[in-house]
């Protein structure tokens, strides 16, 4: 008793004002402040069964150290919110012991199922998507009115990707492109198209399967506003390029390079099949052999690596599974064959959603990342593997939004960027399948384009 009272009277050595992020600043009483300072340790105790149990040998390796760091960052965030709500709930003085218990209840609640009872009966503010901030983050890029900072030079070979990330993020947020933005996409893609077929990552760049997939996808979105976008791609040249430059001549098909003399992996297969499907040029020549190649990528856990013999990974598993889905829609596979091919990956996919974080990791024992909210969740959706939508949404909304500048990020303490904004929002859209108050446009998991955009594509005739 005496000890608690001592702590209650302790004068904090640092300012004890908490900024809720919603523009509200609250001064914390000393007892709450001292609890707040130990919130990570308290949170760890509250969520012990959900946190990753690091094998002793990993305590000092990157696997263990980085995982713990991420958990601590999330717990710190949770603790701040909990203390904020405690302060708002009760204006009286706090006993440290009660405050600790209440904080732990709150943190446990944050990670529990939606049906769990709210501690202290307080009305819980639902997690908000700061839509306007994100729109601001995405604005001025496609129409060139905003000068991008010099660090974007590192993405010089990924300009068609930038066009897609921005256009698709806006599409998911339900913000139609302006005519100038559509024109911006068209201009960039025209300048990046190779006369030999296919698109490079930017003007002057060698045609590349991934850059092409991005360009064609961006043009689909531009096409919802400016029908001229659908006429930009030289479909004949592109088809020839895929069949001559990318497809490997030996061994019965199914293997593609990402570019002339480029690497051979499952990304190339997916980009070729998806692009061809979006342009209505998918034929037997391209489909032949893909199933056998994809099957050769399977790891012992049922999921897929990028090349034969490599470990399973979420991004490559997405490419494998989405490719199989496109092949099924093109009637190259029956529904039963498709199901049999993807079923072995279900277990692994479901288990990639982390118990504490709520988001997905890309490989077993690795770190959560908001972009996997799309790659893994979409793969799970395609394989009919269950995942917990509310928990995924919580991860994205609570920890990955940059409220100050707009945009979404991989995880706390890294800056927001266009790539993560695109894929975190796409993943968030996937969590709204049963949500009647869905605020985001639904996306097709095999293409990561909205259904509206796909419907507006004159070349796309596959079942949706």
């Amino acid at each position: 008793m005496g000890k608690d009272e001592d702590r209650d009277d302790q004068i904090p050595s640092r300012p004890s004002v908490y900024n809720s992020g919603d523009g509200e600043e609250v001064e914390l009483c000393p007892a709450l402040w001292s609890v707040c300072q130990r919130r990570v340790e308290l949170g760890r105790r509250a969520c012990a069964s959900l946190l990753f149990a690091v094998p002793p040998l990993w305590a000092c390796t990157p696997t263990g150290v980085e995982q713990r760091r991420v958990e601590d960052a999330l717990l710190a965030e949770d603790g701040l919110r909990a203390v904020y709500y405690l302060q708002r709930a009760h204006q009286r003085g706090w006993r440290v012991r009660d405050a600790e218990e209440a904080l732990q209840q709150w943190v446990r609640y944050f990670h529990a199922d939606p049906s769990a009872e709210r501690p202290l009966g307080l009305t819980f503010h639902s997690d908000r998507l700061f839509r306007e901030r994100h729109l601001h983050f995405l604005g001025g890029i496609l129409d060139g009115t905003r000068a991008l900072p010099s660090e974007f030079l590192s993405l010089e070979a990924s300009q068609t990707w930038i066009a897609y990330w921005v256009a698709h993020a806006l599409d998911v947020l339900g913000r139609p492109l302006t005519a100038a933005e559509a024109q911006g996409i068209i201009k960039l893609c025209r300048a990046s198209q190779s006369e030999h077929g296919g698109y490079g990552g930017g003007p002057g760049h060698v045609a590349h399967a991934a850059a092409t997939y991005a360009a064609v996808s961006a043009l689909c979105i531009a096409g919802t506003v400016d029908r001229g976008a659908h006429q930009v791609t030289q479909r004949g040249a592109l088809t020839r390029w895929m069949k001559c430059d990318l497809a490997l001549a030996d061994g019965g098909g199914g293997r593609f390079r990402v570019s002339l003399n480029g690497e051979i992996d499952v990304r190339a297969v997916y980009c070729v099949l998806a692009t061809a499907s979006l342009l209505g040029v998918l034929d037997d020549d391209l489909c032949r052999g893909c199933v056998a190649f994809i099957d050769s990528l399977r790891s012992f856990d049922g999921a897929f690596g990028g090349e034969p013999l490599t470990e399973s990974h979420g991004g490559y598993t997405y490419c494998a599974v989405a490719s199989l889905r496109i092949l099924r829609d093109a009637e190259w596979l029956t529904a039963a064959e498709f199901a049999a091919l993807v079923a072995p990956a279900r277990d692994w996919l479901t288990r990639r959603q982390l118990r504490f974080e709520g988001g997905f990791q890309g490989r077993t024992h690795k770190l959560v990342d908001s972009c996997y909210s799309f790659w893994l969740a979409a793969a799970a959706r395609l394989c009919d593997a269950p995942f917990r939508e509310p928990q995924l949404a919580h991860y994205i909304l609570r920890y990955c939004q940059d409220v100050e500048h707009g945009g979404l990020r991989d995880k706390p303490h890294v800056p927001a960027d266009l790539y993560h904004t695109c894929y975190a929002l796409s993943g968030l859209s996937l969590t709204q399948s049963t949500n009647t108050e869905a605020t985001l446009r639904p996306v097709h998991p095999a293409y990561n384009l909205t259904y509206d955009t796909l419907h507006a594509n004159p070349f796309f005739s596959k079942p949706i």
Binding site: W58, T61, P62, T63, E311, D347, T364, H365
Partner: protein, 374 residues
């Protein structure tokens, strides 16, 4: 790849953050200057300037590219001869390559996941081992040594981070290079015939992954690269002995019952050894496929007893309960398995409740019709 500055962490110390930003800008400007001058006549200057940049930032891949171009020009399509002078460079091929290997190794010390640095090494090793030069000449002892040293480098980097998948994949690449160039793994193998090199490579991976797993039974990458070797009598070139693998896994699950790696591996072993030979599409986990013919060494009843023993020691170990359900399925004890999937596991492991109920539903849909078909 994500376009995010790697290692950009918000530092609570503003001055520290500013210093880091300034250093980043300075490095970027220097990299830009060196990049702009990469086709100038003074190749020696470029090599020393770019080395300085690459040591700090190995991801400036255009600089690695230019360094390779310079070497290619000096090699002039001739087969690799370590003693030959690479004019206009004032060094022999061996000296030049050592320089490149040393530089990329330095770069990898601070950034063991720099794709461009690993790719540079693959290129160097391919060239010096004569892969693709069609000369038909035997690779030099320089090449053999370089490849063996590369395996040691992989080992060192994996000691720092045993889940670095780039290094695991790189190691496999090096082994395949050695196989392709018929370079034996150690000097004592006189006969470098391809077949014996190939099998010694499989043995090496067997040994390597085992050493990793004995040290840390949670090493998922090690299980993966072990699984690729295949089980003897199941896989045409399989070298894994089922009994030994089961022993390995059993040790792991008793030591760390909550670590998923060993359980995934056990599930794989059971599937491999119970899947029908004629079923080309691969069996579903937990389901016994038609025409079951287990490999003789696998005794499912034994496995079940073992799992149940583990559960007596650590009741509620959810992976063990799942494995028990899995084996009950293989033994056609569907009702018991169903109870576990539908009722016990969701209560034991709420975050995965959806998955277990899903498995239960799929079981119920299939159960009666799959029995008795052989």
């Amino acid at each position: 790849m994500h376009g995010v500055r790697r290692g950009a962490q918000a530092s609570s110390d503003l001055a520290e953050q500013r210093a880091a930003e300034e250093r980043y800008i300075r490095l970027g400007e220097e990299a830009g200057r060196v990049l702009a001058s990469r086709y100038a006549d003074d190749t020696q200057k470029f090599l020393s300037d770019s080395a300085r940049v690459l040591r700090e930032n190995p991801e400036e891949y255009s600089l690695w590219n230019r360094r390779r171009e310079i070497l290619l020009e000096a090699l002039r399509h001739r087969p690799f001869d370590p003693q030959a002078t690479l004019s206009p460079l004032p060094k022999t091929a061996a000296e030049a390559f050592e320089e490149e290997l040393a530089l990329s190794a330095q770069a990898l010390q601070s950034n063991p996941k720099a794709y461009a640095a690993w790719a540079h090494r693959v290129w160097l090793l391919r060239v010096c081992s004569g892969v693709g030069d069609h000369s038909g000449a035997r690779p030099s002892s320089y090449a053999a040594q370089a490849l063996r040293k590369e395996l040691q480098l992989c080992e060192r980097v994996l000691q720092m981070d045993d889940r670095n998948f780039l290094v695991w994949a790189h190691r496999m690449l090096i082994l395949r290079l050695m196989q392709h160039a018929a370079i034996p793994l150690n000097d004592s193998i006189e006969d470098a015939a391809s077949a014996s090199v190939a099998s010694s490579i499989r043995e090496a991976t067997l040994h390597f992954t085992l050493s990793k797993l004995l040290r840390n039974s949670s090493n998922y990458s090690a299980y993966h690269y072990r699984s690729v070797l295949g089980v003897r009598d199941v896989h045409p070139e399989g070298v894994l002995d089922l009994r030994e693998e089961l022993d390995l896994v059993h040790n792991a699950i008793f030591t760390e019952p909550n670590d998923q790696s060993a359980w995934f591996y056990l599930q794989w072993l059971l599937r491999e050894c119970t899947a029908s030979v004629s079923n080309g599409v691969g069996g579903q986990p937990g389901m016994s496929s038609t025409g079951v013919r287990p490999v003789p060494a696998l005794d499912l009843a034994d496995e079940l007893n073992l799992i149940e023993e583990l559960l007596r020691l650590t009741p509620g170990a959810r992976w063990a309960v799942h494995a028990r359900a899995n084996i009950l399925c293989h033994l056609s004890r569907h009702d018991e398995a169903l109870t576990l999937y539908r009722d016990v596991l969701p209560a034991l492991d709420p975050p995965r409740a959806g998955m277990y109920r899903d498995l239960a539903t799929k079981m119920e849909q299939r159960a009666p019709s799959t029995l008795g078909n052989s």
